[in-house]
């Protein structure tokens, strides 16, 4: 469960988030909607511990996430293992030399036994249709293929929370369809899923809860309790 | 300025590589401390950037071009330690994968381009520019710094070349590696670098620096903080002074060994090959064939001939195939 309490965030003295108070519950799928520049990506950065609110509190499973605590490597590792984050731009997210290394990367960090790593890598390569691409360099793949690799790399770590920043942006129609179907299939796994999107159709199809933000960098719908 | 293999003796290369080890160690430690976050991707991206910078030809008034190394620029933007490591990584990949600069000469190339160049360039830049940023004084500092940096590197390369014929000769007095003494190598290297290449480096450094300063002023404060510490200045001084001396010392030792060796092999050497029509020895009479049966030479020449024939025919076939493909299209 993620709790946000009165979060403000300024980037170089320009407001990016204002008074965000919201609770995300496990097992539900949230769609974050709103115009460009309303702060969706910033919110994701805060939720992933990549930026820290200027004011307010962020609690994950009841534990406060602060800059100071994340400086502790063990804490940071446990924290990041709980959240899978698929970047809007897969290009920066994929940094290994081939697809199978990309998927295995996080598993090596988690220190899983060798057999378990093999099993999981093969599972996600098959699940995401990556078998023909497994020796390719992620950078050279098409947009849709990159998105699939990024999803596989994140999901292989089996995080209870999954965040997707504009998962359909830059994909062609088939690619969009495939990714949308795939995310829909994840809904039954009991994960907390947060998706930011401009795509109405996707939001209607997937969301259990619609969260709308406005140009004043606030959450307007549903109203905060 | 990329020195290929076999221009320098392996001994020289060994000494230069050994000289680089403490520099790398200090740089890695510095980077670990100053750039904790993002250090690995930053190193990678800086190395790729310096790789790219070395490929850009900068146009020079008068219609010619010269290529810049960009070490001073990277030192100004990311600090001299980051510049040292990233240029080293770029040089390693160039040597290993792109065939630019030798593998054995890697240490020497790093010494010139990853150590002398950025540190001299950066020290001069700091001396002139001080804390100034985004003004004429900074750009003048960057210009002079990069000019002196590349020339200091070229001078080092010239000295490395120039001492080869003094130290490494065979029995007949022929140089084994670079044959030109300091009297040839220094003017040959320096004329180009004092003029075209130096100018290219200056234009390149100042132009890119000005662009970055104007386009992203917020980067400037953070990146300009790195200082050349006193211990490193001393280390730099000692290394620059001591390396040629060390080379001479190591070189004479090796040179003596070479003379003994030559004396030993000289006795067993007979230019038999000449009379047999197999004329490696005619071509290269300083090489001894002692201990090898002559049939080995025939096998070798046959093998080379056969391989070359296959290669030529394959290439002809390939070219023909390509042409027919394009004519069909």
């Amino acid at each position: 469960m993620i709790q946000l309490e009165h979060i403000d965030y300024d980037y170089q003295e320009i407001p990016a988030l204002r008074d965000i108070t919201y609770t995300f519950e496990m097992g539900k799928c949230y769609c974050l909607e709103g115009p460009n520049g309303c702060g969706k990506s910033t919110l994701f950065r805060i939720l992933n511990g990549l930026a820290f609110p200027t004011a307010g509190r962020y609690l994950l499973g009841g534990e406060a996430i602060t800059e100071k605590r994340l400086r502790d490597d063990a804490f940071a590792k446990a924290f990041h293992a709980k959240i899978g984050y698929v970047f809007q731009n897969s290009e920066v997210q994929l940094f290994c030399k081939n697809v199978e290394d990309e998927i295995a990367f996080g598993l090596f960090q988690l220190g899983l036994p060798e057999d378990a790593i093999r099993e999981r890598v093969e599972k996600y390569i098959n699940l995401l249709n990556l078998a023909p691409l497994r020796k390719r360099t992620p950078y050279n793949l098409s947009g849709g293929e990159k998105k699939r690799v990024a999803l596989g790399a994140v999901l292989a770590m089996d995080p209870p929370i999954l965040m997707l920043d504009e998962p359909l942006s830059g994909l062609d129609e088939d690619g969009q369809q495939w990714i949308a179907d795939f995310i829909a299939s994840l809904k039954s796994t009991g994960k907390l899923i947060i998706i930011s999107t401009h795509n109405r159709e996707l939001a209607e199809r997937l969301a259990d809860v619609h969260v709308r933000m406005d140009k004043a960098h606030r959450i307007i719908c549903p109203q905060n309790p | 300025m990329h020195i290929p293999d076999n221009y320098l003796s392996p001994q020289t290369c060994g000494v230069m590589a050994a000289a680089m080890v403490p520099v790398w160690a200090v740089s890695i430690n510095k980077i670990k401390k100053d750039m904790p976050k993002a250090k690995i991707p930053m190193m990678g991206v800086a190395a790729a950037f310096s790789f790219l910078a070395m490929m850009f030809n900068v146009p020079i008034p008068g219609g010619t071009t010269g290529h810049a190394v960009g070490g001073t620029l990277i030192a100004i933007l990311l600090g001299p330690y980051a510049a040292c490591l990233s240029v080293s990584v770029a040089l390693l990949l160039q040597a290993l994968i792109f065939g630019d600069g030798g593998i054995l000469a890697f240490g020497a190339n790093c010494f010139n381009m990853a150590f002398v160049l950025p540190f001299v360039g950066y020290a001069v830049y700091k001396l002139i520019a001080g804390g100034h940023q985004k003004d004429t004084r900074e750009y003048v500092g960057a210009g002079i710094g990069s000019y002196l940096g590349i020339n200091a590197a070229a001078l080092c390369a010239a000295i490395e070349f120039g001492i080869q014929p003094m130290l490494f000769r065979d029995a007949a007095g022929n140089a084994l590696y670079c044959p030109y003494g300091l009297n040839v190598s220094i003017p040959a290297m320096m004329i180009g670098h004092l003029t075209i290449f130096g100018l290219a480096e200056v234009i390149f450094t100042v132009a890119v620096l000005a662009f970055v300063r104007n386009a992203a002023p917020e980067l400037s404060v953070r990146t300009a903080q790195a200082q050349t510490s006193n211990p490193l200045k001393i280390l730099l001084g000692i290394l620059i002074v001591a390396t040629p001396l060390g080379l001479l010392a190591a070189g004479t030792a090796w040179g003596e060994w070479g003379a003994d060796e030559i004396a030993a092999t000289g006795a067993g050497y007979t230019p038999k090959g000449m009379t047999h029509g197999f004329d490696y020895s005619a071509l290269l009479p300083d090489y001894s064939f002692s201990g090898l049966p002559e049939w080995f030479g025939y096998i070798l020449s046959a093998a080379i001939g056969a391989a070359l024939l296959i290669i030529i025919f394959k290439l002809i076939g390939y070219a023909a195939g390509n042409r027919s493909k394009t004519s069909q299209a």
Binding site: L50, H80, Y85, F95, C96, K97, E100, D101, F105, G106, Q109, L110, K135, R136, T137, N140 | P4, D5, N6, S9, K39, I40, M42, G44, V45, A46, A48, L52, M55, V58, A90, L92, L96, I97, F98, G99, I103, L104, D170, G173, N174, A175, C178, P179, V184, F204, V208, F211, A215, Y280, L284, G291, L292, L300, I304, A307, I310, I311, L315, G317
Partner: protein
């Protein structure tokens, strides 16, 4: 005249090698052994004072080259031409300065070292070459930096190429490439590279990076590797014999 020709060539080569090597089986012999053999070979040649050794190496490498597909041969030949011609030219005056044979020996050895590396790079993927360094303990981060450099080289090469193209398209009529804003292209590339480095470090943090970097496809020591050690032995034996 396009000043980014060389960049295009390098990125193009990397992209192409990626596509061509995607279906290829990985090297049966540990890449580290093969890279080591190439380095040893170059070192021994540099040390050798006997033409037979160098010529023997050239013969073997030429034979290996002859067995390769023509496209590979062409690439290796291209890689050879410039350094060999250049060396011959540079060494030419030495003939008149009292070192008549230096030109031949140095040119031949330059040919040999470039040939050895070029042939190695045709038969090994660059990923295998960088992975060769991971045999030494504690080198994981170093290999990661090497791989990261190659990746950024592709990305930034592509990026600066596109920027340059945009500049060309905007300049109407005769493209005066001398004014094609090298500063802007490289400056923008630098800014882009900083952003990318930061984003990548965040992505690594999000996937719990703590210094581990291993290859999923790990090479186990096999009889082929043991056999390959024979190559080392042969080289050293020949070196000693021809000494």
């Amino acid at each position: 005249m396009r000043l980014n020709l060389k960049i295009m060539e390098v990125t193009g080569r990397l992209l192409k090698s990626d596509r061509e090597n995607a279906g290829r089986k990985s090297s049966p012999v540990a890449p580290a052994l093969r890279v080591g053999a190439a380095v040893l070979c170059i070192l021994l040649c540099a040390l050798s004072r006997n033409a037979v050794f160098v010529i023997a190496v050239i013969a073997v490498e030429l034979f290996r080259l002859a067995l390769m597909p023509p496209a590979s041969i062409l690439r290796v030949m291209k890689a050879l031409i410039l350094p060999v011609m250049f060396t011959a030219l540079i060494m030419l005056p030495a003939v008149f300065l009292g070192h008549p044979r230096t030109m031949l020996t140095v040119t031949m050895k330059v040919l040999e070292s470039v040939l050895v590396l070029a042939v190695m790079n045709e038969s090994l993927d660059w990923r295998e070459v960088t992975a060769a360094f991971s045999v030494a303990k504690g080198m994981a981060v170093f290999v990661l930096i090497l791989d990261m450099t190659m990746r950024f080289l592709m990305i930034l090469g592509d990026y600066s190429d596109k920027l340059l193209e945009a500049v060309m398209l905007r300049s109407v009529g005769k493209t005066n490439w001398k004014n094609a804003k090298v500063d802007g292209i490289l400056g923008t590339t630098f800014l882009k590279s900083r952003q990318m480095a930061e984003a990548t470090s965040e992505a690594m943090a999000c996937r719990c990076f703590d210094g581990q970097y291993r290859s999923y496809h790990s090479h186990r020591f096999t009889w082929r590797d043991a056999l390959f050690l024979g190559v080392y032995a042969t080289m050293i034996a020949l070196f000693v014999m021809t000494k």
